[in-house]
Subunit: 153 residues, 2 copies
């Protein structure tokens, strides 16, 4: 084993900055969405549904698109069905499957929330970055995501 390699000062600074971002940015965007009538989880699912033909997606595919586990989706969709944002239907091709369909109320809800969300995303993120910074950040995130994905294999 041996003594672990602790973070030096420069490394600590960036790590704390990233933790701070994680702790402050997402809650702020979530609050913005809530004010406009949707939770972050609801918004996450309504985006791909609103872009799909007929607002219809198979649960399995929706899981993949948003990077969620099936169980998480199932619980969340149950709550959203109660709110009238989506409905579940049988899958014609595969009797195991389940289809999620956006309701008119669901479409109205995301159309009401989207402009405020993109505005907040700009105000607290995109519009604060230079073009170069955007490119650096994209490269860094992709590198980390690749490392995380490689680990799974």
């Amino acid at each position: 084993m041996g003594e672990p390699r602790w973070l030096d000062e420069r490394e600590q600074r960036v790590w704390r900055a990233v933790i701070g971002l994680h702790q402050k940015l997402w809650p702020e965007l979530e609050r913005q969405l809530i004010r406009d009538g949707l939770s972050g989880a609801e918004f996450t699912l309504l985006v791909p549904l609103s872009e799909a033909p007929d607002g219809l997606l198979r649960a399995r595919d929706l899981c993949r698109m948003v990077g969620w586990e099936r169980s998480r989706l199932s619980h969340q969709v149950a709550r959203m069905e109660k709110r009238g944002l989506v409905v579940r239907e049988a899958c014609a091709d595969d009797a195991r499957g389940s289809m999620i369909r956006l309701t008119p109320a669901g479409r109205a809800a995301i159309e009401a929330a989207a402009p405020g969300h993109v505005a907040a995303t700009r105000r607290y993120f995109v519009d604060l970055l230079s073009g170069e910074e955007i490119d650096v950040l994209t490269r860094v995130c992709d590198r980390i995501l690749t490392a995380l994905a490689d680990e799974k294999r």
Copy 2:
């Protein structure tokens, strides 16, 4: 109002990369901690406690140090007290206050989990970044945090 300014392709790319990071990095670090016996929330609180004199901090101050709401801390400490990681004591100076003290079991728990956590932090973050990238990222995060903090005032 007017039509909102949607994200262009470059902006969408970085935004999705950051969302992906948010969705994959933190859960991976959390899983690592869980394997070593602590949840992310427990680790977050045990770090400042283990660095405090006598492992003792006032609830109010612990809140500030980790950026949590009082209610959140209160619930979390209640669970950790049940697990034997901390105990609550009366505050001598201020009868309204509440002191949180690290137990020997709590100290043992964080000392067992810390090496694995710093190793995972290195593997999936720090060691994947160049010095220049670290500096860019620090600047960007601080700028965003400043914008978020300014908004509150």
